[in-house]
């Protein structure tokens, strides 16, 4: 079953001064099945962040459409967009985007508070989640008191707590050391095992190797994709590296 569909997505950035715009996305097409864990890989400037921003409803496409569960994202009214983002999407950012004035607990609860859920409901959702992410002892700490890996785990908890349809992760391991990265990817992989759909943008072949499918994007177009199938991450990483190598050669 197609869960999310990206159709003929095109994005042109126009600056105020220049009449000619920059084409960030040319014609992106792909679909996501429910429960898939997809990585989007590409070099800087390939358009992967633009793609993610459009799927996140943080940016609008120039042409084309994104459907999530048969809902066209561009058709969602401005007033509803925040609610949609809060309830249907979960975000994990490269620089965590945790708020320093909230404890980790409050940071994680933020989307639920904004949805006006009751305190019991919130705490009920919080407890198993943070136990699974192994940050239950840090709930009363502030973001500046914990390590990067712990911050990112809290961010993942914040993304998961609303039971979103899809998790959108933007370079989640970008600011982490290798050990924390691995730990985080294991967590995401575990989340995926439990049926969560995830779309991740990343530079790192190692991070991508935890996903079930990798899309390669270049010059605003998806030019290649590989499935992991039954491969172990360690084997999958070789295929990814090879694909990357081919693509860099191809682009020369």
């Amino acid at each position: 079953m197609t869960f999310m569909e990206v159709k003929h997505l095109k994005k042109i950035y126009t600056s105020k001064l220049g009449s000619k715009g920059t084409e960030a996305l040319k014609d992106v097409n792909f679909s996501v099945e429910k429960g898939e864990f997809i990585s989007v890989m590409g070099e800087s400037g390939s358009g992967k962040t633009t793609l993610l921003n459009i799927i996140s409803t943080l940016d609008n496409a120039t042409e084309g459409e994104v459907y999530l569960d048969e809902q066209a994202l561009s058709a969602i009214k401005d007033k509803k967009i925040s609610k949609f983002r809060r309830e249907q999407l979960g975000f994990v950012f490269q620089d965590f985007n945790l708020l320093d004035n909230f404890t980790l607990k409050d940071n994680i609860l933020l989307p639920l508070v904004l949805s006006r859920k009751s305190v019991e409901e919130m705490e009920g959702a919080l407890e198993p989640l943070v136990k699974r992410l192994n940050i239950e002892d840090l709930m009363n700490n502030y973001p500046y008191e914990v390590s990067g890996g712990q911050k990112q785990r809290a961010a993942v908890a914040r993304a998961l707590i609303t039971r979103p349809k899809i998790i959108l992760a933007d370079e989640p391991t970008g600011a982490l050391d290798s050990k924390s990265s691995q730990n985080l990817m294991e967590i995401l992989s575990d989340v995926h095992q439990n049926g969560q759909t995830i779309l991740m943008v990343t530079h790192s072949a190692r991070a991508a190797s935890y996903s079930s499918r990798v899309l390669f994007i270049r010059d605003g177009q998806v030019y290649h994709e590989i499935y992991r199938g039954d491969k172990e991450p360690d084997d999958f990483i070789d295929s990814i590296s090879q694909s990357l190598l081919v693509s860099s050669k191809g682009s020369v």
């Binding site: 967009i81 925040s82 985007n97 708020l99 320093d100 933020l110 508070v113 904004l114 502030y142 500046y144």
Partner: protein, 663 residues
């Protein structure tokens, strides 16, 4: 590297960071101008002639403003540096050594502080003069005030602010040198520790505030008001600071612990936001509160003084003309009465000869002794007035009392009438000079006596006859021959249709000089005093409004800066929350609630302070012969309302700026 390079660099920084520097420079300029004007006022001839205590008061005010300036400039500097750390970090990364960075900072600071001081002094000079011109025009006082810029004080201003700016520069350089480039690069994003709640400071604050309020509420003796007023003010200032810093955090944390209340979008965002910034902003809020109280009190008391001038005159001079007659200790009350009658007849015939018609002519005789009440006895003697004020005892004969109060009370030989405004005497007998009398209380002091007896709580005694009064006086003079007391008589009269004028006063004074009465005479007319009182009270009004203006500018400055700096701090937070799903409407609600509380807290505090200051200030006014509580209350309420309106306008304007920054 050459200095010209650094200069260019510094100059370019200032230009490209205009948005950050503009509020900084404006605030610094106004601080300098405020201080310069306040200090100049201290040495101003106009102020010095007004009253002996005023320069001292202004000296205190100047010190307070100086301290405010120091705190305030440090506050805006730290805000500036926080935002600029990234830039400084970048320099280091690009290869500038720390001393090079320091060089840039020094040159920047030279330009900025030099400009601020120069423009500030200029503003002070121009604004001070302009203010005086406008106020002179508006108030149209009998004699115009002159404003002179004191060059000595201007010099002190320059020195002080050079000092303050140097301190901030040193602080900045130390900050930059101590931290490494990476930390600097992340500087403006670095988290700040959550403020700790400190119950001890909170309790001290409560006690201090309570003590200040208590002094104000319980003060009954206007003479000691002046000393205690400053103690009370100091206690309230300390209390305000502590309550804002410690109390706000305790309250916010308590709210946070209430889960059902806290975990809702509005409170969630605003409480955490306020808690996060309280550490830096509590002092700012306390400053605004205190400045606001100062504005309200300065303006409302001086307006009351001015508006109550006519009343003051009527209290001091119940009739248009007042002649006080002093005898020596050998003259008895009977003899004094005869003399008074002679003088009254003389004045009457003189007046009617010159075509004036006297009305309401009356007099009363009295003597004033200082004694101490001990249970049912009064002991007279020498007292130390400063530490332990004795009771003033005013004694008048029944005959004169009945005439004054239009009554026909009769007393037998061992009875006395008494009145004491602040307390009832214990028991129904009183012993003086070893004779015991039965007491009867009078409910109301005759109106003519209120004016001269309100400052100190006087014990009024009415003797059954003249001889009793003479006996008391003789007893007293025998006991203290080195400080004999004598009788006084006050004669009052008005003329038909308020005819008393300079010509009439001159006539009376001439007659008093020429006639050879066996007593001392002192003549005063209400009319002649009117111009002088209006000039004095007008001067106070002038100073009050000037000060009110200065303090208002101070409050506006802090508010403006707070809003802008908070806007920049909150922008990042709000953006993150919007990414996670905070909608615009909730953003607006939450930020508005937050801004509203940050705004209304100081004005509420100011209003409460004013309410509690009311009794002590009212006693202060009594010293200036203002007894009209309704007038003072009305004016105070009016001033509070007008000030709130001004504050509300500032709030609207700065909130707009804040929301613009945040969104």
């Amino acid at each position: 590297m050459k200095n010209s390079f650094f200069t260019k660099m510094a100059w370019r920084n200032i230009q490209s960071n205009g948005k950050l520097y503009m509020p900084y420079v404006i605030s610094a300029v106004l601080s300098v101008a405020l201080f310069q004007m306040m200090a100049s006022l201290m040495t101003n001839d106009f102020v010095r002639q007004r009253s002996v205590t005023l320069p001292t008061l202004f000296g205190m005010g100047t010190v307070v403003i100086g301290l405010f300036s120091l705190i305030f400039i440090f506050y805006i500097n730290s805000f500036l540096m926080k935002r600029r750390k990234k830039e400084v970090g970048l320099y280091s990364v690009l290869g500038l050594e720390k001393r090079h960075v320091a060089n840039i900072l020094i040159i920047e600071s030279l330009i900025l502080s030099g400009a601020s001081i120069f423009v500030g002094i200029l503003t002070g000079i121009v604004f001070g003069r302009l203010n005086f011109l406008i106020l002179n025009y508006l108030l149209r006082l009998p004699d115009a005030m002159s404003y002179s810029t004191s060059w000595k004080m201007t010099g002190i201003t320059v020195l002080l602010f050079t000092g303050i700016f140097t301190l901030t520069l040193i602080y900045n350089i130390i900050q930059v040198t101590l931290s490494n480039p990476i930390r600097l690069l992340k500087g403006s994003k670095e988290g700040e520790k959550e403020p700790k709640s400190s119950p001890i400071l909170f309790v001290i604050g409560l006690l201090s505030l309570g003590a200040g309020y208590y002094i104000s509420l319980t003060i009954d003796n206007p003479i000691s008001v002046l000393n205690q007023f400053f103690v009370a003010v100091l206690l309230v200032i300390i209390g305000t600071y502590l309550l804002f810093t410690a109390g706000s955090i305790i309250v916010l944390k308590a709210l946070k612990r209430n889960k059902v209340f806290y975990y809702k979008p509005g409170p969630f965002i605003s409480i955490s936001g306020m808690l996060y910034r309280m550490k830096q902003h509590a002092a700012g809020l306390a400053n605004i509160s205190i400045l606001s109280v100062m504005v309200i009190i300065a303006v409302s008391t001086t307006i009351t003084l001015y508006a109550g001038t006519e009343e003051t005159l009527e209290n001091r001079f119940p009739e248009e003309n007042n002649l006080t007659i002093r005898t020596d200790e050998n003259m008895g009350s009977r003899e004094l009465e005869e003399t008074v009658n002679t003088i009254q007849d003389d004045l009457k015939s003189l007046s009617s000869n010159k075509g004036y018609k006297m009305t309401d002519q009356y007099f009363y005789r009295y003597t004033t002794l200082f004694g101490k009440l001990k249970d049912k006895e009064i002991v007279f003697g020498n007292f130390n007035f400063t530490s332990d004020a004795p009771t003033m005892v005013m004694i008048i004969p029944l005959e004169d009392y009945n005439q004054l109060s239009n009554k026909s009370i009769e007393l037998n030989d061992h009875e006395l009438l008494y009145h004491k405004s602040d307390e009832k005497l214990k028991g129904d007998t009183l012993t003086l000079f070893e004779t015991t009398y039965d007491l009867r209380e009078i409910n109301q002091m005759p109106e003519n006596l209120i004016g001269s007896n309100n400052i100190v709580d006087t014990l009024l005694l009415v003797t059954p006859d003249n001889s009793t009064l003479d006996t008391f006086l003789n007893h007293h003079n025998n006991a203290f021959p080195q400080r004999p007391n004598s009788l006084t008589a006050d004669i009052y009269w008005s003329l038909k249709d308020d005819q008393t004028d300079e010509a009439y006063s001159g006539l009376i004074q001439e007659r008093l000089r020429e006639a050879d009465y066996p007593v001392e005479t002192a003549y005063e007319s209400r009319d002649a005093n009117r111009a002088e009182w209006y000039s004095i009270n007008g001067g106070f009004l002038f100073i009050g409004i000037f000060l009110g203006g200065l303090f208002t500018i101070g409050a506006i400055l802090i508010t403006y800066y707070k809003q802008i700096s908070e806007g920049y701090e909150d922008r990042n937070r709000i953006q993150i929350m919007q990414k996670v799903g905070l909608d615009k409407k909730t953003t607006k609600q939450a930020t508005k609630a937050q801004v509203f509380w940050m705004f209304s807290l100081p004005i509420f505090t100011a209003a409460i302070h004013t309410a509690f200051a009311y009794p002590i200030v009212q006693k202060l006014l009594v010293l200036f012969n203002i007894y009209n509580n309704k007038l003072f209350l009305g004016i105070t309420v009016g001033v509070v309302l007008i000030y709130s309106l001004i504050y509300w306008i500032i709030y609207r304007v700065t909130t707009k700026k804040y929301l613009n920054i945040v969104e």
